[in-house]
């Protein structure tokens, strides 16, 4: 009996003193481990992660900008906000916790975070990188960060945005619209400088959507960087700087209008499907705002970006006879920036200084779409009207209309569908930022 008692006591002491082994995450790798000791292969995983995340939550970005910019409606029985808050129906206002604003916002900053992890991991790689090898990674990281921040700023506009976010406990301040644009421009320059010292070949690869026109990774990135730089400088009103950036980009007056990097989408496996594509003629419809068809000029082939429905789509007091058909399937890529936009940037940057050159650039666009050369007056105001017409139809569904009308202070010219609807100037600052670290 005593023996039993002692056995029990011994086993008890053993059990109590036994240690529970630390359990590693059985499902995922750890950020800290990869930041401190990444292999080359893991750096590639991080690069692919950044590129993949650049697509994440972009459906909300395109839809919200398209809906507020009165390019199209999104009809769904499952959520009333697309025809309510986003169009400012009645008394409804935008919600600072609404997914249509918070999710694309968070998605863009996730790219910034992933790119920061990539830069730290590349710096501390298990097998140290040479300086030029490292610059390839940092050039990619800074370029994608700058592009992501630009999209955040497009949504937040005069609210301003945080630029410096590498330390989550110590976030940088909100910078106003023009300061933030300047910071984004500088970040693009820093990325461009890194890419230019990255040697002849990158240690990583990108998707077949991102590399374009037969270029390799580094060259695609450099030209993409300059294209975005041109867009940013145009937004800043620095037309000369925009023209100069264009010259280092893939801008080509004679080139294909669709040339440029794009977000890769595929229905296969765990890849992401194109989030903007909706099957035509469905009850859940991405339907063109009726003025797209009523305002278009006769013969303009950009009418093919919409298709007549077999029966009208109606929801919540809105009706449209046309579906948006800019993408043919859920496997269609979404362009990030195209030569067509660069030509339009070129035209816009020339207005006021070289209106003839602006008109001939616009003529390239109008001719390409079946309208022949521009024959209007060469005054600034007529050229701006022509420019905005072409930006509206050439970049339909690519999240430009709202920003363009805002840049030219013409939001009041956007069509109102129902009495009491509002055209918003910007999305509210997400609730998660309010009252926290200077937000």
């Amino acid at each position: 009996m005593k023996l039993l008692k002692y056995t029990f006591i011994i086993s008890l002491v053993t059990l109590l003193s036994c240690q529970i082994d630390e359990i590693q995450d059985p499902n995922n790798p750890s950020v800290i481990a990869i930041e401190n000791n990444a292999s080359r292969n893991e750096l590639q995983l991080l690069v692919s992660g950044v590129e993949s995340e650049m697509r994440d939550e972009m459906g909300f970005y395109y839809d919200v900008l398209g809906i507020i910019g009165r390019e199209y409606y999104f009809f769904t029985n499952s959520d009333p906000r697309y025809t309510g808050e986003v169009l400012g129906k009645g008394e409804a206002t935008l919600d600072d916790a609404g997914f249509y604003g918070t999710r694309p916002y968070a998605g863009r900053y996730k790219v910034v975070k992933d790119a920061n992890i990539l830069m730290t991991a590349a710096q501390n790689a298990a097998d140290p990188l040479s300086d030029s090898e490292l610059k390839g990674f940092t050039g990619f990281a800074k370029t994608t960060q700058a592009y992501s921040l630009l999209l955040v700023l497009n949504m937040q506009y005069q609210n301003g945005i945080r630029i410096e976010v590498s330390d989550p406990e110590n976030l940088g301040p909100f910078k106003d619209y023009s300061t933030a644009l300047g910071d984004i421009s500088s970040l693009l320059d820093a990325g461009y400088a890194d890419l230019n010292t990255a040697g002849s070949e990158a240690l990583f690869f990108l998707s077949e959507g991102f590399v374009f026109n037969g270029l390799d990774e580094l060259e695609s990135l450099k030209q993409f960087n300059r294209a975005i730089k041109a867009r940013v400088e145009l937004y800043r009103g620095n037309k000369t700087a925009a023209l100069s950036a264009l010259s280092d980009s893939f801008f080509d007056l004679a080139g294909s209008l669709n040339m440029g990097p794009s977000h890769f989408y595929d229905a296969a496996g765990t890849d992401l499907p194109n989030p903007v594509y909706r099957t035509p003629n469905g009850s859940e419809a991405l339907a063109a705002q009726p003025s797209y068809v009523t305002d278009i000029r006769a013969g303009d082939d950009r009418i093919n970006k919409v298709a007549m429905r077999t029966s009208p789509a109606t929801l919540d007091g809105l009706t449209s006879n046309y579906d948006v058909v800019i993408y043919s399937s859920i496997s269609s890529n979404i362009p990030i920036i195209r030569n067509e936009e660069l030509i339009l940037i070129y035209a816009e940057a020339n207005i006021g200084t070289n209106n003839t050159e602006a008109a001939s650039a616009l003529s390239i666009i109008t001719s390409a779409h079946g309208l022949g050369n521009y024959t209007g007056a060469l005054t600034d105001s007529e050229l701006v009207d022509e420019l905005l017409y072409n930006r509206r139809y050439s970049l339909f569904g690519e999240a430009h209309r709202w920003i363009d009308m805002r840049r030219y202070d013409r939001l009041d010219q956007l069509p109102i569908d129902r009495p009491g609807d509002d055209v918003w100037t910007q999305l509210p600052r997400p609730v998660s930022e309010i009252g926290v670290q200077g937000g």
Partner: protein
Amino acid sequence: MKVYRIVCMVILFLCSGFLLQAQELKVSGTVTDALSGEGIAGVNVVVKGSSTGTITSVNGNYSISVNSGSILQFSFVGYVTEEFTVSSSTLNVTMTEDVTSLQEVVVSGLASTVKRTNLANSVASISGAELTGIATQQTMDGALYGKFKGANISANSGAPGGGISIKLRGLTSINGSNEPLYIIDGVYIDNSAISAGLNVVSQAAGGGSQSNQDNPSNRIADLDPEDIQSIEILKGASAAAIYGSRASGGVIIITTKKGQQGKAQISLSQTLGWTQILNPLGQRSWDETKVAASFGASEVPNFVAARNAGKLVDYEDELYGNKGLLSTSRITVTGGGDKTTYFVAATRKNDDAIVKNTGYEKSSFRLNLENALSDRVKLNLNTNYIESSTDRGLFSNDNSGATMGVSFVSTPSWAQLLPDANGNYPNNPYSASNFLQTRDLITNNESVKRIITGLNLDAILLKKDNMSLRLNARGGIDNYTLVTNAIFPNTLQFQKDGNGTNGVSIQGTTTNRNTNVAAFLIHDFFPGSSGLSFRTQFGITGENFDRDNIVGTATFLNGSQTNLDQSGSVTIEQDRLIQKDRGFFAQEEVNLNDQIIATIGLRGDKSSNNGDPNKLYYYPKASLAVNLTEFSFWSISTINQLKMRVAYGEAGNFAVFGDKFISLEPVNINGSSGLTVSNLLGNQEIGPERQKELEAGIDVTALNNKISLDFTYYVKTVEDLLLRAQIPASTGQTTKVQNAAEMVNKGIEIGLNANVISTSTLNWKSRLSYWKNNTEVTRLDVPSFTTGGFADFLGQYRIKEGHSPTEIIGVGPNPDEDGLVVFGDAQPDFNLSFLNSVTWKNFELSMLWHWKKGGDNINLTALLSDLAGTSPDYDKIDLDPDGQLGNGDYRLSVLGANTEPYIEDASYIRMREIGLYYNLPKSVIGDFLNSVKVGFSGRNLINIFDYRSYDPEVSNFGGKGLSSSVEVTQYPSSKNYNFHLLVKF
């Protein structure tokens, strides 16, 4: 430190008493029931103030050697305890049934048992007869409704096969689990609700909410409620000592039936019945004007054509109008000899449901063995094998129009959805799917194969007159494989012709294995005649949890193939969970003549889920019960018992698995895999939540134990609440786990039991229970935030200091400083249940009523119906303050500006259960049969509520955390009618 503690404990239980010798007398007799005169088997016969005792045989006979002059105590569950001073060698005893159940013995979260009279906690317990004796229960959890004070039980939907959430004494966690721990015969039972991966079809997590909305059943539903002997509910930290940090949501301790000594007794039962929709709402009645207003003028000709052709369809009846057949067959055999007893039960259940092609099937087999290895060593083995299969259909929220619920509310009565003669279904022009086609062609099946085994060893290591030392060792395994099989063929409207992905097959397999071991030493010591007794217990516990969930999703199916290989694209997801917990428990109980009972104890816990897996967290407890009626000064004879009690205890709640990891998640682009940071920022310093519960109460029994009243007040504080707090999205992540809040629950529980009439032919027992709880967030280290719904303007919960965590906010006039308006609270004002059982001659009639007062729901079924113009109350005018607009138009007119119309009172009064049974007289059934009972029962036959949907009991997000009470086109609830036949041989 650890060694010192152990030495102390060892000294405590080694301290042995001394032997007393006195003159012995052999006493024997029979214990009989006062009403029937039949012998009672299994009565505990104990010499008061010692551990000497025996139990009565099958016929109620006993014999025991005692010192003359000793007091013999006779106790048995359900009877009033009797005491007699021994004066002769024969002592026959009659025992009367105890309506107040004060004398029963409860486990009370310890290795030993405690008499209810000596208990300092309010421990609710019910017998198997109360659980399943009135009406047939489909699932174990569903049988608990309205039967326990302090338990808020709510079904997530009416889908067959369960899906129920239980909260004991308010909320104990905001992000962690609020669900109680289930222990069956000492085995830790898994109660997960595991998703079948339907989001790929429903895309429910694609918009405002990123939570899973598959509405799976929870695994406690697998148990057969008929196997249960009794259930005890420990409602909080002060009671649930030995279960430590797993017990913060309370513990439901289930004891299954044991074998009875004697020749084999066989009983057969068959139940047959039907189920039908609980509360059909009807459909909006249409005319040309309304059609034009809601669907546009172009729809009017379609409507007129259908109306004139008599082809308006009542789709509510078409979809939810099925009368499902219910059938349960069961056989039990019990018997045994001196050493070994057995209980064998087999149940086969086959239930259809109110939607065609949905239903629940279960086969359960149980073998409980008890073997006395020697006089001092007893071994129990409990084994349960279960196979169940549930077809749940496709309901709840979506962002694709694919679920039957969303498609149904989008479709007007002139739509033509019925298949043609060749079985081809027309497309539904009003929705992305034809819900009749969906119902008939899809599969969404959960099937479970589960084995639960528990082993319990009781050994008396040492036994003397004034002391004993007992070892209790127990271990258990709960092992199951859950296979989910969801098939959406490419002939469906939402899969074919470029809609969806041309067919989806989702095949999931989850293997889950919980193992637990525990060992306790219990030392009883009676130091002489002072009336003092001591009970010391010490034990160690260990639990391991291991789950592996693999879901394969195939899209672009090859024709009608469903094998994952036969497809254009396959994705695999795997999710593993590994957790190890270790702990110890020690308690000292001092009892002075049953007058004063005091306990003090300590629990230590560590877990691999904590930031530091080897840090022990300590939780003390203490309690005091004073039985005034046991003191010699007590002279009021009408009051049989008056007890004052107070108990305090602490418990933890471990962090959720994964909360401490900062992880990278896999992504895929153009055939290359990549890594991206998780939305959740893990916290490597994460510790457990700490719950502190203080309860005080008074128990009174009067009028010869015919009436009893108990009153309990409790304050349950949860400190270091784990929050998945929102962090600025500009960090690149969206939430962080923090110990960042504190919450207080305060509540009262009142019970009144009465044996109203008790004669030889008529017996009427009545029980009234009342409970209420209020919760308040008393500390919040992060800014207030909203959670648990889709968006503020659609109603959400708000976590805010000084407010209830279940308050429902929205947008509206006169907003507060957060820009929000409080419109309600999901937590009910109070619950009241009223149980009456009457037996008259051979008839038994029982009825259980349940009133839930208050508590609000967010009714988004109404919203989706309004948007489609199909709400049954669309044209009724009782919401618009100006009395102008119909309800549908009114609700839509304020949508986005005022959430109030979609937040509704979810009060209800229900007749939960009714049962009427008749025992055939012996003269009719003859000698071959022992007894034959026939009867009728019903569940939820009467329901009274104002809520504008199928049932106020509903939850789109299942039972997780805070997100209950949101309705988005759930599977409607049903009521059941059953006929019973029970034969005993």
